[in-house]
Symmetry: C2
Amino acid sequence: MDRPVPTITTGPLPSSRKVYLAGEVHDIRVPLREITVSGGEAPMTVYDSSGPYTDPGARIDIAEGLADVRGDWLERRGDVAPYEGRSVTSADNGFAEGARLTPAFPRARRPLRAVGGRAITQLAFARAGIVTPEMDFVAIRENEGRKAAAARDGEAFGAEMPDLVTPEFVRDEIAAGRGIIPANVNHRELEPMIIGRNFLVKINANIGNSAVTSSMEEEVEKMVWAIRWGADTVMDLSTGRNIHNIRDWILRNAPVPIGTVPLYQALEKVGGIAEDLTWEVYRDTLIEQAEQGVDYFTIHAGVRLHMIPMTVDRVTGIVSRGGSIMAKWCLHHHRESFLYEHFEEICDICRAYDISFSLGDGLRPGSIADANDAAQFAELETLGELTKIAWGKDCQVMIEGPGHVPMHKIKANMDKQLAHCHEAPFYTLGPLTTDIAPGYDHITSAIGAAMIGWFGTAMLCYVTPKEHLGLPDRDDVKTGVITYKLAAHAADLAKGHPGAQRRDDALSRARFEFRWEDQFNLGLDPDTARAMHDETLPKEAHKVA
Amino acid sequence: MDRPVPTITTGPLPSSRKVYLAGEVHDIRVPLREITVSGGEAPMTVYDSSGPYTDPGARIDIAEGLADVRGDWLERRGDVAPYEGRSVTSADNGFAEGARLTPAFPRARRPLRAVGGRAITQLAFARAGIVTPEMDFVAIRENEGRKAAAARDGEAFGAEMPDLVTPEFVRDEIAAGRGIIPANVNHRELEPMIIGRNFLVKINANIGNSAVTSSMEEEVEKMVWAIRWGADTVMDLSTGRNIHNIRDWILRNAPVPIGTVPLYQALEKVGGIAEDLTWEVYRDTLIEQAEQGVDYFTIHAGVRLHMIPMTVDRVTGIVSRGGSIMAKWCLHHHRESFLYEHFEEICDICRAYDISFSLGDGLRPGSIADANDAAQFAELETLGELTKIAWGKDCQVMIEGPGHVPMHKIKANMDKQLAHCHEAPFYTLGPLTTDIAPGYDHITSAIGAAMIGWFGTAMLCYVTPKEHLGLPDRDDVKTGVITYKLAAHAADLAKGHPGAQRRDDALSRARFEFRWEDQFNLGLDPDTARAMHDETLPKEAHKVA
């Protein structure tokens, strides 16, 4: 390779070190971040989504990929086996060739899948009463190093968070469908995490290649940058050339679950003509991504033919890309979508690799005017029906939600989702609470995200300042992630998540005692806080005064 | 003067022009902003706080000040008269001398005050059934050019916003104490505005001199910049040298109400020693600022001696500057504060000039841990008692609120404020919904601000990204103002304010039809939206596609 040496951001956050806790049930190492605090205070241990990149002891080489954390776990389970996977075709990479072709990830590995139709999903294990290493891992992770209950107060709207999370609690939540651990058996580099309303509120960051210039280093760095600041999962929304190979580079270097919208790649394979999509092309794309290790698929199977006319009088029609592709297909062929008709077969694929469903809201509102309308809620009911089907196949499921919703209509979204989707985790985009602030939609949506997180949404998909305007750059990604981390934390506080207030209190004590360094380091973004402070009070002495 | 030519930001916002509507009752001109929209759509008329600075037809010379809008109104009323005001002392300007002394505003005017103890406040007029030009002005302003009701939907929590605001409705709201028009008779340049929960939610921006370099041009420009982006009132929190003269420059050039915390200047006059404060020094400062035209005073009269021990076990003690000054005074002298003891005399002063009270929350929580505690709510009850006293003197009153409050404790603040303070308008700082994001407190607080605005808070005091860290610069002020404008608008939408959704809908239609220029221009910050869009899609053709 004649490409420049990858420039991946590594190293700990200020005044922080990586600590590893042992499993309770299994032989595992669970990473957390410990922030050193002055003033005679104990260190603050916090959740850490950043993976080995912030561990100075880890050797990072993106051409090697991260260590195979889960290989042992899977081998010991003995219910998956390697097989000769699907061959990569030129179409998989958008027909990129020669110098325009991003090199394949150097280390090939035969894909794993369930043997003999065995149920190998976390849901199947949970139902069988088994605590997997993944469950053990997330249980320890969720406690952030706490060994005892902390003072708590909040209004949880029916969520039931225990004082301390046990592996058995995780198992029970997954068995009930209220929690999911997106963990494809082919994503062996994964540090498992859980999404559910009885756990810490999570956030997702979207990345995607730019049509102009994207190398695999750049794409890996986007992911590393997003998780450094707190993204719990990353969706790769790339389109066009090289997406197969770039996805491989991302997955082999990703300690967080990676989600995709397989429809985007399928559309590329038929030259961008929605009407030309077929179940066969789509199915082939699912297998392709399953073998690579994608952890969750957004699937817009809830867009049904009879719902499409309900969007005609909307101000902003259908704004979901997947939704509008499927609506076009349905109208052209005048039949239900292949996603809906083949949903059970999709479940069978997801079941064989343990890929979680993120049932897409193809009819989500794209404006305040369209919030909570008949089309949106009709689709939500269908997503509830599909949830039951997927659960019947032992598949893990979460449900995607809006979008653009004024504050007084947010709670109804949560209430209906809980009722129609049987408490499967809710995963929302914002929602934006007004349409009049392009350039500030990370903020218009953080308001809605904090509120819906409080009401019970398990994961918040971030919005960057560039939403509606252009492609986010590095600064935008960081701003989006930090904004959503603070919204998720505000939700945890309001829900009365045990232990959430520890960090607020430690930072407030530092603030009251003018321990500036502690105030920076305990915050979500120490670098920005320090830089802002130094602009007007640059003297070192001021910081410890 | 050998200072450089003032550089004040003037000129209209993109695609906008100033329009003036006539009064319904009086001979007045009420400014609004009309945004031209393409695509065959009618222009969008919106509230305009920016004053003559955005009117290309207005001649701006800060050494002249703005036109005397209210002089005629006051003269016709015939119940105020000019008198020989207090002489400016060296102490008023923090003992600045020679080259360090900011020049006095060139045009001196004798101050006005009520003659013969007449009641000249907007509250007194409202109670007498009189519709003043100020009431007429705000009624027209609030309708934003609408002549008919618009579709509305929302949850108003007891607020009762009419389809169209009439001058009589304004009068009735003021008479009931639910609305205030801060309008000192000596602020004759003012374009009146109203604060109350049955009106559009307003925002305040704080400015203040920097200890290092502040000229009068810079201070005037800070105010002009803040109102350009939507600040409805501006608080001048300057300290130290030259504050008397700089305040004069600001007031003579301010079309929005100016608020202050007179205690800050009084403290300067006694060399910064809280214990040395006296009623006489404080009273003299009130008169000084009253004669200059300050429209509302933050007065921390609710901090009572017995409440101070309630703060001992707090994580962040007393964080309000005014609160901690008064607590120190009370403890030292072991008696109730002179603000509390002389409250009726303070009312007499405010009454003579029609200065509105902003009853300060000196014991507001400075952290999530301290939210909604006994000290905070004890003070709130006292503020309710003081409200009744002020109303008894015909004075207009609003109540300041927190601060730092997690989401689940926000509504209790509004409910208690309504109950204890008899529906006097609530004016809150944020509240911040978590303490862990220094550098992003405009966002942690926008979440709380939008929610409490929805619940009924009438005015939101902005927070900038530099909160807790340093002095906001020009970019921070703009970010803070836009963030709070969008929060206030989200609140208006959720309350079901008639007409609020017009702008969201117009922008969403533009978005759906790819009318990029309209999307920028209808937003709160066209410049930033356009710049972000042009970063990735710089071609002119893309913008009208």
